[in-house]
Structure formats: structure tokens, C-alpha cells
């Protein structure tokens, strides 16, 4: 029988929504038990939150002063130390999981399945390669531990209502001192989180300047949407890098996505192909974004967006 361990991503205060998405993915393995490992300085509240996720069987609470910042070099040996009790170890394909999980896999001397988008069996999965232009089916050896990351955009978060047991664990692993956290510069925003918001408005290079990007913020705010951007807009300095949507930025799956002044480079499309409805507004009728859009409007964004805000905003 499959026993899955999920490594919980959190910021010390709250669990990241990726935890509940990993639970959904793990639940896709027939008959699997699903445990969540919470590594923190004092993980009492986080462990309770994990125990409340529907479908979680047990929470491993691993407290350690070294877990103030979840650096891969410190977290990986702790995860590897508890992995022996499991058949599968999952993490999210967020920057946290992408950084951490291969280090865990290498300590356990196995390869990793990156970006699971579909579970076909306990050792059989689908995942994207070539920026999502190809989907492959991979089969992993059943006699080895399986380490994987879960493509979070492919899964809905598991709900609440769970009542898993919480077990405190002392992990005896030698932790290195060669890597140190210095600081985190986080974009301060009262807007919805780009990775989980049901509505997202993104702007592209056609906005032309940081000042003009206000148009995007203002429309997004009027409909309660998160704000994203194309790589071109980030590279041009209109917005900070954490707003980038696409293959090398964030891969998202909102119910409604507005691509405004975005031509639709393949790497951007990769980041939005799981969106429910894609709306494209662009003055170039030949822009590739229209090939994937559910609703397309050819027009000048500086005229269209204020009208749209007027019609839809509250």
C-alpha cells in the first residue's frame, strides 16, 4: 500500500495553499495514506492547520530552531531522515518545492518526478516537458522510494474538515551551517494572491510604462482580481519579477484570466493553459494570444480597459 508524505510549505505563520493541492494529488493514488510533515521552529498552529485538511491521515510536527527559514540545505536532511517510513515523498512545484525536493531525492539516491499533472497509478504519472508542448507518461520503479513535485495548477485544493492526528518527531540529522538566510524582499500587496486568486488580470509590454500599468491595477481592483504580467513587462521594469506569469514565472489556473496587451509568447501560454476562461485584449489581430483565448477583442487597451472597468467594476 502506498504511504505518501507531503512536505508542507509555509511562511512560519500559515500554510501555503500548495499543501492542500498536494493532498488532492496524493489522494489520487488508490488507497494511499497521506501524511504531512510540518517543519518549523514551533509548528503547533501549522500542524493543526494541516490536520484540518480533508484527506490527511497524520501530521508529523518537526520542530527545530534551524527551521526558521526553510533553506533546502537544512530541510532536506530532516525530510530524508523521516522518508524511510514512506513509499512516496511529495512537495509542491512552487519555488520552495523546486528548490528542496531534488536535494531530498539525491540524499535518498533516487531520481525525481517533476511536476505531476495527473496520477495514473501509484508509480505512473503524467507530466509536461518542453514548456508544456509535450506531455509524457513516466513509470517509476516500485521497489524504490518515489520523490516528486506536484504541479499545483493541475489540482484543486483539498477542503477542510479533516481531523488527522498530530505526532511530534525529533529528527536526528546533521544540519549544515554553510547556508544562511539574509533577507526576504516581498512585494507588499493587499491584492489577492496571484497563485490562488479565482480572477487574474495580467498586463504586457503594450502598457508601455510603469505608470500606465496603473490601468491594470485599477481594473483588477475593481473586479477583485490578482495582478500578473508577461515576461516582457517584467523585463521592461514595469512590475516586479514575482508578478510574472508563464513557464519561468508562475503557472496559474484561475477561473477567469484577462491577458491585456500580451502578445502570447509560448512561455506565457504555458503558464495559463489551465485557466477556466481566457480573455484576450490586444490591438494586433494576429497576436498568438487569440489562438488560446476563449473570448478575444481586438482593440486599443487604453480605450477598452477603462470601458470594461466601467461596465464590470464595482
Amino acid at each position: 500500500m502506498s504511504k505518501v508524505l507531503i512536505v508542507a510549505e509555509h511562511d512560519g505563520k500559515a500554510l501555503n495553499p500548495s499543501v492542500a493541492k498536494c493532498v488532492s494529488c496524493a489522494r489520487g493514488i488508490d488507497g494511499a495514506t497521506v501524511d504531512v510533515a510540518v517543519l518549523a521552529v514551533d509548528g503547533a498552529g501549522l500542524a493543526e492547520a494541516a490536520a484540518a485538511i480533508d484527506g490527511v491521515d497524520r501530521v508529523l510536527r518537526i520542530d527545530n530552531p534551524a527551521n526558521e527559514h526553510l533553506l533546502a540545505a537544512t530541510v532536506a536532511p530532516q525530510v530524508a531522515a523521516v522518508a524511510a517510513d514512506y513509499t512516496h515523498v511529495f512537495g509542491p512545484s512552487t519555488m520552495f518545492g523546486k528548490d528542496l525536493m531534488p536535494r531530498v531525492a539525491a540524499l535518498l539516491e533516487v531520481n525525481q518526478v517533476s511536476d505531476i499533472m495527473e496520477v495514473l497509478g501509484p508509480y505512473r504519472f503524467k507530466r509536461p516537458i518542453y514548456a508544456g508542448n509535450v506531455v509524457i507518461t513516466v513509470e517509476a520503479a516500485e521497489d524504490r522510494l518515489l520523490v516528486a513535485t506536484v504541479r499545483t495548477a493541475s489540482y484543486q485544493a483539498a477542503g477542510d474538515g479533516g481531523s488527522a492526528s498530530i505526532e511530534s518527531r525529533d529528527v536526528d540529522a546533521e544540519l549544515p551551517g554553510h547556508s544562511r538566510f539574509v533577507k526576504l524582499e516581498a512585494g507588499s500587496s493587499d491584492r489577492p494572491d496571484l497563485q490562488t486568486a479565482p480572477r487574474v488580470v495580467s498586463g504586457g509590454r503594450a502598457l508601455g510604462s510603469e505608470e500606465n500599468f496603473e490601468l491594470i491595477y485599477s481594473f483588477a481592483d475593481s473586479i477583485g482580481a490578482a495582478v500578473g504580467a508577461s515576461r516582457a513587462a517584467v523585463d521592461a521594469g514595469y512590475v516586479p519579477n514575482e508578478m510574472q506569469v508563464g513557464q519561468t514565472g508562475k503557472i496559474i489556473a484561475p477561473e477567469l484570466y484577462f491577458a491585456i496587451g500580451i502578445s502570447g509568447a509560448i512561455q506565457h501560454l504555458t503558464g495559463i493553459k489551465d485557466a477556466g476562461t481566457i480573455v484576450a485584449i490586444n490591438k494586433d489581430a494576429e497576436a498568438p494570444i487569440f489562438e488560446v483565448a476563449d473570448i478575444g477583442l481586438v482593440g486599443d487597451l487604453f480605450k477598452v480597459v477603462p470601458e470594461l472597468k466601467e461596465a464590470l467594476g464595482s
Binding site: D115, L184, G296
Partner: protein, 276 residues
């Protein structure tokens, strides 16, 4: 709880080698840069008609773009006088010499091809690179954060783990200090800064730099630079087939959408879908 990993502690940096010398001692004597040969990023990759793999016959091959950024960063560190020698390494078929020659033309001092005619998985690649690291003793290994063919995003982290050394992944800024690096990393909420002791593995993100174009005289010069070939088997890392690809298919297509004439049409379409 924070003990030093004794196995990873290194006695003293290796003696400097190479020919490119600057006044004063560089902070990093040697950087190893990984260059993977991949299908060029402009090629729209397709699944073969019979579903047996990806169509790669006759398509343009290039250096993995993230690896090109890694090499560019090594060159910029050298231009600041902080590195002695830059060694480019590739694991791949004989044709990967082309990518290494391009790397030499960009400015790497010498190159090593680990010759392998079959696909090499991430763990095996990390093991092979570790063996190269043991032979070359670089203080810094710079790799792209992922190769744009399999998009695994694993090798750098795996090498760091096997080596017992720090990793700074998804770097968007690297400052070289004495015996350490300060690296800004792209994370989901913004930018994280970490400090890591050398030797270390750093993987590069898009915004670290913009790689230079290669000039014709440099291509000529690169022909004279050393390019050594090592048979993959000689490195002692057996391929790991713990994870096998058994099927290839194109992604699910989105249904064809509609075009609207104006804002009123757009609003009506959104309401029609129950989205407002």
C-alpha cells in the same frame, strides 16, 4: 543543532591553474559551468506521428538558455577580476562539442565533454558532475536552473546534495565575497537573499544577465582552446532507470474561442458564461 557538515568541510582551495591571469588574487580560482545541448528554444517541439518520442531530427540545437546565462555570469565575475579559470562541461553526444565550442567562443578557457550517447537522467548527471568536481576542484559550479527540454529543474540541487555543499537556486544576482557568495534568489513572494560558503552550486534564473553575442574572431580563437573528451563510463556513474518515460503525447487543446467586436460584446460573453 547547526553543526558543520564535517564531510563537506574542505581543507584548502586548490592551486590556481589556467592562463587567464589578473592582477591580484581572484576570489574564486575556478568556476565550472554546465552547458547542456538542447533543442533551440525557438523550435516548436512536436511529438512524433507514432507517439514514440519527440521529433528532433534536423531541428536546430543550442546551448540550454539558462546555461548560457550561467556562463555569461562566470565571464562577468571574471571581468571583475574575481575568477581565475572558467571550465565549461557538457554531458552528451559527440555533437555537444558544438555547444562547447560556442561556450569557448563566449570566453570559457577550456571545455570537457562527458561523452554519452544515451539520455542521461538528472541523478546520473549530478553524479558525473560530482566526479568532474572532484577532479577539477572548482570553488563554484554554475548551472542553469533547468534544461528547457525535460524541464526537470533537478541537477544543480542534486549535485549540491551529493557534494554536501550549499545550493543557491534561481539566482537573479550574485555577489562574490571572500570564501562566500551573497545570492539574490527569485522566490514566489519576491526576492530572497542568502549567503552561502564556497564551494557552492548556484543555478541561474532568467534575469541574472543577458548573454553576449559571439563574435567571429572569438569563434576562430575558440578552435585553439582545449576541449577534452571523457567517456561517460569512465566516470563510474551507471545510468539510473528508476524513472522511465513510456508515452509521449501532445497537450490537450483548448476549445476554439470566439471574437467579440467591442466592450459590450465582451461583457455580454462574460455574463453568458456566468462569470459576472
Amino acid at each position: 543543532m547547526r553543526g558543520l557538515n564535517a564531510a563537506a568541510a574542505r581543507a584548502s582551495p586548490p592551486p590556481a591553474r589556467g592562463t587567464d591571469r589578473h592582477a591580484g588574487d581572484p576570489r574564486v580560482k575556478k568556476i565550472l559551468v554546465g552547458l547542456k545541448r538542447v533543442v533551440d528554444y525557438n523550435v516548436r517541439v512536436r511529438v512524433r506521428g507514432d507517439g514514440s518520442g519527440v521529433e528532433t531530427d534536423g531541428v536546430k540545437m543550442s546551448i540550454n538558455p539558462f546555461d548560457e546565462i550561467a556562463l555569461e555570469e562566470a565571464l562577468r565575475i571574471r571581468e571583475r577580476g574575481d575568477v581565475g579559470e572558467i571550465v565549461a562541461v557538457s554531458i552528451g553526444p559527440a555533437e555537444a562539442q558544438q555547444q562547447l565550442r560556442t561556450g569557448l567562443a563566449m570566453g570559457a578557457d577550456r571545455a570537457i565533454l562527458v561523452r554519452s550517447d544515451r539520455d542521461v537522467d538528472s541523478l546520473t548527471a549530478a553524479r558525473m558532475l560530482l566526479e568532474i568536481v572532484r577532479r577539477e576542484e572548482p570553488e563554484l559550479v554554475l548551472l542553469g536552473k533547468q534544461a528547457i527540454d525535460n524541464d526537470n529543474n533537478q541537477t544543480g540541487q542534486m549535485l549540491a546534495a551529493l557534494w554536501g555543499r550549499p545550493q543557491a537556486t534561481f539566482a537573479s544576482k550574485i555577489d562574490v565575497g571572500d570564501g562566500k557568495l551573497t545570492v539574490k534568489r527569485e522566490v514566489d513572494v519576491g526576492l530572497e537573499t542568502v549567503e552561502v560558503d564556497l564551494p557552492a552550486v548556484v543555478t541561474t534564473d532568467l534575469r541574472l544577465n543577458e548573454p553576449r553575442y559571439v563574435k567571429l574572431p572569438d569563434i576562430m580563437k575558440a578552435k585553439k582552446k582545449p576541449l577534452d573528451e571523457i567517456d561517460a563510463a569512465e566516470l563510474g556513474a551507471e545510468p539510473d532507470d528508476g524513472i522511465r518515460t513510456v508515452a509521449w503525447e501532445p497537450p490537450a487543446e483548448r476549445q476554439k474561442g470566439i471574437m467579440v467586436e467591442d466592450v459590450a460584446g465582451l461583457v455580454a460573453a462574460l455574463k453568458d458564461k456566468g462569470l459576472f
